[in-house]
Every structure is written in structure tokens, then in C-alpha cells.
Amino acid sequence: MSPIASLENRKDAFVLFPLGKKRFALPASTVTELAKPDKLQSFPHTTPLLTGVLVRRGHIVPVCDVAQVLIGPDAPARKFYLIATRKFENSASEWTALPVTGECELTNTPMLPRTGPLPHHVAGLLSLGNEIVEVVSLEKIAEGRS
């Protein structure tokens, strides 16, 4: 196992992703890749936050624009797609692409429990120097459970 793979499999490993001036985190074990901007394809639907789909390595990957919830409607242009695995209640899982505004970073930091009145989609917090980063539950944010 490579050192990176070993780090990604640890429960304290998280991928930090930027949205505007803030950074958020996902558990590294759920992240598949950071992809360059790809052809977003859209068709009519009624599911909030979904902006379309990408075709990635033969998969049809829904694109979930979580920036609308995490930082509001004035998010800067998204430059990359962070592709992560989302689980569903029926035990199914599939890739989901999250548009992010810059490069991502891997960190190995213990997650602190939620404190105070945080949105429902915050699974925990990472303390990184002067910065507190929210660890996002992809399942809860995509379901609109904030």
C-alpha cells in the first residue's frame, strides 16, 4: 500500500476543499479524485442542488453544487470537481461531483465533535492552526438536511 493510500484509509484523513475564502472537508476515504473542469450536461429535473451530470470514466456522475448551501449564492466560479462517494439509505452508493473553487489538500487531523448550533450537515470540526474547518456530511447536505 502506498503512503498516500495508507493516509487516505486512516479515519483522521480528510480532503480539504476551498469554496471562495473558506475551506471545508470530506473524509478522505470517501473521495475518489479531483477532476479538471469537464463538460457539465444538464437536463430538466426537480432535485435541489443538482446542476447536471458529468461522464467520468464510464460513470454518469451527478453534480451537486453544495456551495449554494455552504457559502451562499455568491460563490466564485468553480474550477474543479471533487468526486466523492455518496451513500443512500437503501445502501446504494454512487459518485457525486462537488464543484470547488481551487486545489484540494489532504490532511491528517483528528476530527473534533460538533459544538454549538451548527448546521445539520456538519459532521465535525478540524482545528488547523487558526482555522476551524467544517467536515461536511455529503449525504445530509445533498438531501437538504441543513
Binding site: 463538460k39 450536461q41 444538464s42 437536463f43 430538466p44 429535473h45 426537480t46 432535485t47 443538482l50 451530470v53 461522464v55 454518469i60 456522475v61 451527478p62 451537486c64 455518496r86 443512500f88 437503501n90 446504494a92 454512487e94 457525486t96 445533498a142
Partner: protein
């Protein structure tokens, strides 16, 4: 334009012919087997049943042929902005027709991929899934979702009522 006699519709594996059509800025596919004929809009008769059946306001015309077709406006069905319809897809073995902007072509697809689980809304009923055609993801519409049998019965009843009213007032 009439499509595919039944004997011509033998399939090769999971391959399926679909008709590609446009509504607004989007392209959709419908199984060619689901379509009996395609006509233009000339002989459509407008109906206004939105007051009696607001849920079925997407039915804006009828078309009289060997049977009466209720014509669903595809943009209204798919909750899109109104578009410039010019063609009517008359569905096979059905009293339902669908008004669309234009017909693109017939394509053969090798698979219909399930709609990703992330799509949770009405689209789960609208589409059978999506097809990949030359790197484009095309939703394959569910022909049975435009109107149910009970919708058709309600439309027929409402239309009969309107006709009877018109006869009395005349």
C-alpha cells in the same frame, strides 16, 4: 411519418432505436417502439381544461384521428419554460400524443443507464434512464409518464362535459 412495423422491430441484444427530439434547449430520446406516428401541428384543436383539471393543464390540444389523442405539451410536462412546438409524437396503442419542438433523428443505443440515485424528484418518473450518444447524456423519456390511464379518463369526461355544456348553450 409512420415508424417501424412490428416485424421490423427485432432487437440486437439490448440495443434499441430511439427518436431524438428537442424541447427548448434540451435533447431527449423516446423509444421508437413507443411512437406510432409523427405529425405537424396543423390539425390540433386547442382545449382549455386547466380550470376543471389544473393538474392536467399540460394537455393543451386534442388531435382527432382513428381515435382522439390528448396532446401533452412536453415543456409543461417537464416543468420547463414554454417552447416553440412544431411536431406531435403520437404514442403507440395510446390516446396520448406529445408536442415537441423538433425531431432530430433516430439513433441506436446499446444501453439505458439508470438515472443516478441523486435524482430524487419527479424526474424519476419522467425518465426511463439516460443514454450516452456520442458523449452526450440524453434522458430517455418514459412514454407512460405523460398521462396515466386515469388521467385520460378524466380528460375524456371533462371534454364530454364541456361539449354537452356548449350544446345546451347553443
Amino acid at each position: 411519418m409512420r415508424f417501424f412495423k412490428k416485424e421490423q422491430r427485432t432487437r440486437r441484444g439490448n440495443r434499441e432505436d430511439v427518436i431524438l427530439f428537442a424541447v427548448g434547449p434540451h435533447t431527449f430520446a423516446i423509444g421508437a417502439k413507443a411512437v406510432e406516428k409523427i405529425e405537424d401541428m396543423q390539425e390540433l384543436r386547442p382545449i382549455k381544461l386547466s380550470a376543471a383539471l389544473p393538474r392536467l393543464a399540460k394537455v393543451k390540444h386534442t388531435l382527432d384521428r382513428e381515435r382522439q389523442y390528448f396532446v401533452v405539451d412536453a415543456s409543461a410536462h417537464l416543468l420547463m419554460l414554454p417552447s416553440h412546438v412544431s411536431r406531435v409524437l403520437m404514442l403507440r396503442d395510446s390516446s396520448v400524443a406529445v408536442a415537441v419542438d423538433s425531431i432530430d433523428r433516430i439513433a441506436e443505443i446499446s444501453a439505458i443507464h439508470p438515472l443516478p440515485h441523486a435524482f430524487l424528484g419527479e424526474e424519476r418518473g419522467w425518465y426511463r434512464g439516460v443514454a450516452l450518444i456520442q458523449d452526450a447524456v440524453i434522458p430517455v423519456v418514459n412514454a407512460e409518464a405523460f398521462l396515466s390511464a386515469s388521467d385520460v379518463k378524466q380528460l375524456q369526461a371533462a371534454l364530454s362535459k364541456n361539449t354537452a355544456k356548449a350544446a345546451v348553450s347553443a
